[in-house]
């Protein structure tokens, strides 16, 4: 009986491609002024699926900061054109627990303003949630810029900064914040034409924006793996040297 059920389940699974998703682009729902266009989400996930070995879940998901389901999504996106409402204590506590336990927040500023209300709000929110971990420009040598693509130039719909900012917690970037509207380079209309033209760099700026978006996702899925790759030859060399110490000569019993 049990074997039959197991066979049935596995046959069903074999016939249902797409149930083995390991990544979804979940939105952090903070109300009016925030949200990711379906088109942008789908284009990002299609590019992710095409370029990498990640099997993304195309379905749209939203979670609130007060929702326990937040803790089932290790990567959330907050894309806003204006400042959301101030966080209450429970929301700030949840955000702190989420980020300190390994969650990653990708914040995307859609406003295109140098003095953006959303940026001010995010700084205030992080002061409450992660005091001592302010947003700072991400270091150019950080694995974020080489997690999949070699990201060497600014990208996004706007050109307000050379590189995104990040809040570091326990040795990793827990919050990554782009003022250049990285998600703005993705959406297309029904005819497949891009909705927005990146300015001033045009297609090249769009391409860099696409690369950086995917890098951010891969960074969330692999951590500082690319940093390891730099050190691995040295680690391996050290292990080999250690094992090359005089070992007992073997003799026949």
């Amino acid at each position: 009986m049990r074997t039959a059920r197991t066979v049935l389940v596995t046959l069903l699974l074999a016939c249902m491609p797409g149930v083995s998703f390991c990544f979804s682009l979940t939105e952090l729902d903070l109300g009016e002024g925030c949200g990711v266009a379906d088109s942008a989400r789908l284009e990002v996930l299609k590019a992710l699926a095409a370029a990498t070995s990640v099997d993304p879940d195309m379905a749209g998901k939203k979670v609130k900061l007060s929702d326990p389901a937040l803790f089932e999504e290790p990567f959330v996106v907050l894309s806003c054109s204006k400042a959301p409402g101030a966080l209450d204590d429970d929301e700030a506590r949840n955000l702190r627990l989420y980020l300190s336990a390994g969650g990653t927040l990708f914040a995307n500023d859609v406003s295109g303003l140098r003095k953006s209300p959303f940026a001010l709000w995010l700084n205030r929110a992080l002061e409450m949630a992660l005091p001592g971990s302010p947003l700072k420009p991400a270091a150019r040598e950080h694995p974020l810029f080489k997690s999949f693509f070699m990201s060497v130039a600014p990208g996004g719909r706007f050109d307000l900064e050379r590189q995104p900012s990040a809040a570091e917690y326990a040795g990793r970037y827990a919050v990554i914040f782009s003022r250049n509207d990285l998600l703005g380079v993705w959406p297309k209309d029904a005819l497949g034409r891009y909705l927005y033209d990146p300015s001033p760099g045009g297609a090249r700026q769009r391409h860099e924006g696409e690369k950086l978006t995917l890098n951010i996702i891969i960074y969330a899925l692999t951590g500082s793996y690319k940093q390891d790759a730099v050190h691995q030859p040295f680690i391996m060399q050290r292990l080999r040297e250690l094992d090359a110490m005089p070992a007992p000569a073997k003799a026949a019993p």
């Binding site: 390991c22 070995s53 803790f71 997690s147 110490m245 007992p248």
Partner: protein, 732 residues
């Protein structure tokens, strides 16, 4: 002749004052007859002389005997067990009887002083040097260096002896550093061996020791010595063997003397963690059998756990687990994740990618042996070798003692075609479907089974409630039935109530394999953050799993070993590992509580730290019959473990031969002679080495005015003459 003053400084001062006062009085006595002045001065001078008590000693020439100090070793070895096989008298009794018998002859040649020494030095009456009277040091080993230094410093009560004879069996000197003579005391200490040796033809292992703890992969040394008697010219071998009987190293010698001790050292390395028994075997060259052998246990621990982590695709499981492994100071991690498969189209120039070729050959064929644990997560081996050939390498890795974790995912188990790979199939603890078996939507909570790897958190009040409230996991490969010899560690029930294995383990060769059905343990960390009691579940699960795989769980944190010991005394060594299976540091605040049960009440036993994680004790059994030593160890407030040893406190001590090698070494280091007198053999041979009598002087007579009748009469005569002369001169 020599003059001495017997009074102290007070009387000397009084005599001076007396003479000064009298001289002043005479000066003022104008008109006093001169003869009377002389008489009175003479009387006063005599009184002053008596105050300072002078005396004269007269000598004559005479020879002076050398001072000989005889030291009887009173260690527990000397005082327990027979001196000779199948006899009753102890070595101490034998030595003291010899001294008693020949003490008159010794006195004829030397100024004799007798002592016993164990931890301290005791003065003895040479005519009855019995063992009574120094119970404090009764069951201690003896300290020859301290005793000799004590006597050399003249602290024995007299002058430093010209010669010291030490009657000992040398067992307290075994394995100790050579005793150095005190400055200026070279060649003055002779060793007189007591007790029978094993001098018959044959081989005896006199020492085989190594480190109590050793690190896996890092070579460590053994020291060994064996005694070959009556085998001059024979070719012999010392072999070091592992627990399986494989010869690790062989040393070959030709015995050049009738009674020769050969010393050697060996180097060994342990590939995996756990207790490893090594055996020293001494035999004639070419013979496969051991004439004698001795085993030494080593606790092999991990300096650092070397982990290779391969993931078939980026995932949160990979990100979280890699982060955890990187954060552990005791882990060296090398990890690779397959970011892109050949069919993926990045939509960019290849030069814009930061990817490096996956070094599959290096990992599976060249470097795999450098690791202790290999984690394979959601990994499809067929992508790199169509026939899954690299699984053979994994199989060999585990067979040699490595640990393998296979974590599920869409490309693992059934989805990875593991069922079609012969080596992979034989490695895994559960049957695998021949079709994809991953269900990404299944959500479940796991429950532990009876297995050491399942005891993730200690001290849970209600384990069932804890696990039933734990964050649910999501996504799992549906594993088939367990294979023979495999054990399930955690299981779960799906929505339909079907019981399935979440994790299972199996031994394979010298190593272990763990299959974990789902790649979502990261949920324990992220979702567990909301509830304090689950915040440590993720790290505890992986820490326990890795400890099981590398064999650390098979190591007891607290182990008690009996040390070889002669006589009724017992000695034990306690080996302690901290929570991470490493020798504890000071910061671990280890405390040892021990009690000896056997008598009417349990007696506390004190262990002394002799090294990092090593504690030793020695004591007398509480009672005849069954004794039990119980030890409990804590690190701070955390219980580390306990151990006990049961032994028989009765039985007469057996015969222990004296250590002639140690005795000869001690004699050589002290610069003196080595003798083995027979019980009925007198001390003449040894007396020849005594320094000759010195030319000296002996007191012939002495003159002390204080007790002299002549001086008393002279004083009376002076006073009487003075009185008579004064009367004649008409003085009052």
């Amino acid at each position: 002749m020599r003059l001495f003053i017997g009074a102290n400084w007070c009387f000397m001062a009084a005599a001076g004052l007396l003479m000064a006062g009298f001289a002043g009085a005479l000066k003022r006595s104008v008109g006093l007859p001169r003869a009377l002045k002389v008489l009175r001065f003479g009387a006063a001078a005599l009184a002053a002389l008596l105050l300072i008590r002078p005396y004269a000693v007269f000598y004559r020439q005479a020879a002076e005997k050398p001072v000989l100090a005889v030291l009887l070793d009173a260690s527990l070895y000397m005082r327990e067990g027979p001196a000779v096989k199948n006899s009753k008298g102890t070595k101490y009794a034998r030595a003291s009887a010899w001294l008693e018998k020949y003490q008159a002859r010794l006195r004829g040649s030397a100024a004799l002083e007798c002592y016993a020494f164990a931890a301290r030095l005791y003065k003895l009456d040479c005519s009855s040097p019995s063992a009574a009277g120094f119970e404090d040091g009764l069951y201690a080993e003896s300290d020859l260096g301290r005793a000799v230094s004590f006597l050399a410093g003249g602290e024995g009560g007299g002058t430093a002896p010209d010669k010291i004879w030490v009657l000992t069996d040398g067992l307290s000197l075994s394995g100790q550093a050579p005793v150095s003579p005190p400055p200026g005391f070279e060649k003055r200490v002779d060793i007189l061996a007591v007790g029978e040796t094993d001098a018959g033809r044959g081989i005896a292992i006199t020492d085989f020791s190594g480190p109590p703890f050793a690190f896996a992969h890092i070579p460590f040394a053994f020291s060994a010595s064996a005694r070959f008697s009556g085998m001059k010219g024979t070719r012999v071998e010392l072999r070091l063997k592992d627990a399986a009987g494989n010869v690790i190293e062989t040393r070959k010698f030709t015995v050049s003397g009738q009674d020769e001790v050969l010393v050697s050292s060996f180097t060994a390395g342990a590939p995996s963690v756990g207790r490893a028994d090594y055996t020293l075997c001494a035999a004639s060259a070419g013979g496969s059998d051991c004439s004698v052998s001795k085993t030494f246990p080593v606790s092999v621990i991990r300096e650092k756990l070397r982990v290779m982590y391969l993931a078939g695709r980026p995932s949160f499981e990979y990100a979280f687990l890699r982060d955890y492994l990187k954060s552990q100071s005791g882990i060296d991690l090398v990890s690779f994740v397959i970011l892109r498969n050949p069919e993926d189209m990045p939509g960019a120039d290849e030069r814009e990618l930061s990817l490096i070729p996956f070094p599959v050959q290096e990992i599976f064929l060249r470097d795999i042996s450098h690791f202790d644990v290999f984690i394979l997560q959601d990994f499809d081996l067929r992508r790199f070798a169509p026939d899954g050939n690299y699984s053979a390498s994994l199989s060999e890795f585990v067979k040699r003692g490595g640990g393998l974790v296979v974590v599920g995912g869409p490309s693992a188990f059934g989805g990875g075609g593991y069922a079609g790979m012969e080596f992979m199939r034989s490695l895994l603890p559960a049957e695998v479907q021949k079709v994809p078996d991953y269900d990404g939507n299944i959500e479940f909570r796991i429950a532990p089974l009876e297995h050491s790897a399942a005891r993730v958190l200690s001290g849970l009040e209600n384990e069932e409630r804890f696990w039933s409230g734990a964050p649910p996991l999501k996504g799992a490969n549906i594993l088939g039935p367990l294979k023979p010899g495999a054990s399930a560690v955690f299981h779960y029930k799906d929505a339909a109530g079907t019981d399935s294995v979440f994790s299972a383990v199996k031994s394979y060769g010298k190593g272990r394999v763990m299959a974990i059905a789902g790649p979502s343990t990261w949920r324990w960390k992220l979702m567990g953050a909301r509830e304090l009691k689950y915040s440590g579940l993720y790290t505890a699960f992986w820490s326990r799993s890795l400890a099981y795989l590398d064999g650390s769980l098979s190591l007891d944190k607290v182990t008690l070993e009996a040390l070889p010991r002669a006589g009724a005394g017992r000695a034990f060594r306690l080996k302690v590992l901290n929570a991470n299976y490493l020798p504890p540091a000071d910061s671990d605040a280890v405390s040892v509580t021990a009690a000896l049960e056997g008598g009417p009440a349990a007696e506390p036993v004190e262990f002394s730290a002799v090294g990092r994680g090593i504690y030793e004790t020695a004591f007398l059994p509480s009672a005849k019959g069954r004794n039990r030593l119980r030890v409990s160890v804590k690190s701070g407030n955390s219980y580390l473990g306990s151990a006990e040893a049961v032994f028989d406190g009765g039985g007469a001590a057996g015969f222990t031969p004296s250590d002639e090698d140690a005795l000869k070494k001690a004699a050589a280091s002290l610069g003196g002679g080595y003798y083995r007198p027979k019980p009925d053999e007198g001390p003449e041979t040894m007396l020849k080495a005594l320094p000759p009598e010195r030319a000296g002087r002996r007191e012939a007579s002495r003159f002390d005015p204080d007790g002299s009748q002549g001086v008393m009469l002279l004083a009376a005569a002076l006073f009487f003459a003075s009185w008579v002369l004064g009367r004649l001169k008409g003085l009052q």
